[in-house]
């Protein structure tokens, strides 16, 4: 048993390390992609082609002065970024990112590439990411400043509104897959129809995929739904009064939430680690490519679309997205009942 435990601990450490790195990589990707979309080159001076830019950013954030407003609630002020960061990391705990592998025969039994495999994995991701709301609400409240409070209340109201559509999109995939475990859902997407079209659920449930991505963008306070952090209206929303490492925690939490949403979307809709030409033991390469593609789409949408007004955002979430998600679930259930899949 000892090699298995060591392998599992190594996988946990590796997943944590890669999540931290992904925040840094996303900083660079965002700056470069936004630059190319805006017909300029972005960071080029820090290291070759600006590759050391994230390092420069991290060093800057570490050395900044730690400020705290005098009237802020000290305990909650420090607790809020911790909650945001912990929820962001913990949500990735039940997301599998590769098939069972024995690492070229180093282990006696194959071990799956995940931090933990529970049979209600989809709901655990949903539950833990809904804990992230507290980080934002407490940050706004503890800062004792009007911009922060407004930003926090807007942001949390937006997040809990879009969580409903998020859950409904998940429900339609669960109906098709017949299981709550992410590993089972991915394994149900192996193989291909007619030899070339992969059995991904995005082809059976395109509307659910769309709803999931839109709700995911709203959940992570990104792209056209980042009104709570609108630099033009609210200074910086709920993280106005934060600096240095506390701000870095929020910053990191946002990117890691993006990565988690993309990873879960890959597992649910894009076939996870299954793909042509590579044996399934190395499926994590496909997983990385698909997650990378979704993250690129995230950045692309952010720098292309204008920000939506807050009441338009809430209207869209409640009047269009939620009914569409509910109708999707009903149609899926009717389809399964009729076709007996």
């Amino acid at each position: 048993m000892i090699p298995i435990t060591i392998a599992q601990l190594a996988i946990i450490g590796f997943a944590f390390f890669m999540l931290l790195n992904s925040a840094a990589i996303m900083v660079y990707v965002e700056r470069k992609v936004c630059a190319f979309l805006q017909q300029r080159v972005g960071p080029t001076l820090t290291g070759p082609a600006g590759l050391l830019q994230p390092l420069a950013d991290i060093v800057k954030l570490i050395f900044k002065e730690e400020l705290r407003p005098k009237a802020a609630d000290a305990f909650l002020f420090t607790l809020a970024p911790c909650i945001a960061a912990v929820a962001a990391f913990a949500a990735f705990a039940t997301v599998p990112f590769g098939a069972e592998t024995t690492f070229f025969g180093l282990l006696d039994q194959p071990v799956g590439l995940h931090v933990s495999d529970v049979n209600v994995a989809v709901l655990v991701v949903f539950a833990v990411s809904s804990m992230g709301v507290y980080g934002i609400v407490l940050a706004g409240w503890a800062s004792n400043s009007k911009y922060s409070l407004l930003g926090a209340l807007r942001s949390s109201a937006q997040m809990i509104s879009y969580e409903l559509s998020y859950g409904m999109a998940l429900a339609s995939v669960i109906l098709v897959a017949g299981s709550l475990s992410l590993r089972d859902i991915v394994d149900g997407q192996a193989g291909a129809w007619f030899g070339f079209l992969p059995r991904w659920y995005v082809f059976i449930q395109p509307l659910a995929f769309l709803i999931y991505m839109i709700a995911g963008i709203a959940e992570t306070n990104r792209a056209p739904f980042d009104f709570p952090e609108a630099e033009q209206e609210l200074v910086a929303g709920y993280h106005t009064e934060y600096s240095s490492m506390r701000f870095a925690m929020f910053f990191m939490a946002e990117y890691i939430n993006m990565v988690t949403v993309s990873a879960v979307a890959t597992d649910l809709f894009l076939g996870g680690w299954h793909g042509p030409l590579i044996p399934v033991q190395f499926g994590w390469v496909w997983f990385l490519l698909k997650v990378g593609f979704l993250l690129f789409v995230y950045v692309w949408i952010r720098w292309t679309l204008p920000r939506i007004r807050y009441d338009q955002l809430m209207q869209f979430g409640w009047k269009w997205l939620l009914p569409a998600a509910v109708l999707n679930v009903i149609a899926t259930a009717a389809g399964i009942l009729y076709f007996g899949a």
Binding site: L76, L79, V118, N119, V120, L123, V124, F126, A127, V128, S130, M131, V133, Y134, V137, L138, W141, L149, L153, S156, I160, L180
Partner: protein, 174 residues
């Protein structure tokens, strides 16, 4: 061993909830208590219920409490008001409450000690697979308890309408 850890967290958090001056701390401590109870549900082979506890209780109901506390701006009680209202300043109320609580624990303890099989391990009689399967839960919910399920949906609708109506601002007669 894990049970005792979660049980200690639940009891200590709940005891602190009722003793806090600041309602925001009370809400946060209650969330910690809910997390511990969710862990106990996992111990009892009910993983679906554990996750639903986090989603519904800790993720929705407590957010509602937090919003109301922030809306009413309740926590900034000054010290004099708090000292005047704290239970230990009302000896009769505190004594009455403590006596009732102790009586309650004694009664519950007596009743529960007369339950059959209470000394056995909680997993002794039945296997875990019957209880922990979400499929079995769903099947029973939608066949045996279908009426209660539909009635609950009407209950939620009524609660939604009631909450919106009760909390609305009175419109000025202009």
């Amino acid at each position: 061993m894990v049970f005792y850890l979660f049980a200690a967290i639940a009891v200590v958090s709940s005891a602190l909830v009722i003793g806090q001056r600041n309602p925001i701390y009370s809400v946060l401590l209650l969330i910690a208590s809910f997390g511990a109870i969710s862990g106990l549900y996992v111990q009892l082979d009910a993983p679906f219920l554990a996750v639903i506890q986090i989603i519904v209780y800790a993720g929705a109901i407590m957010v509602l409490f937090l919003y109301v506390v922030m809306l009413l701006n309740a926590p900034r009680e000054d010290a004099a008001e708090w000292d005047r209202l704290h239970p230990v300043r009302h000896p009769n109320a505190a004594r009455f409450g403590a006596v009732l609580a102790t009586l309650l624990v004694v009664q519950l303890g007596w009743a529960l000690s007369r339950t059959l099989g209470v000394r056995e391990a909680v997993g002794a009689r039945a296997d875990a697979t019957v209880v922990s399967s979400v499929r079995a839960l769903g099947r029973t919910l939608f066949t045996d308890y279908l009426f209660a399920f539909e009635a609950t949906s009407i209950l939620i609708l009524v609660a939604m309408v009631g909450a919106v109506f009760l909390a609305r601002r009175e419109v000025d007669q202009r």
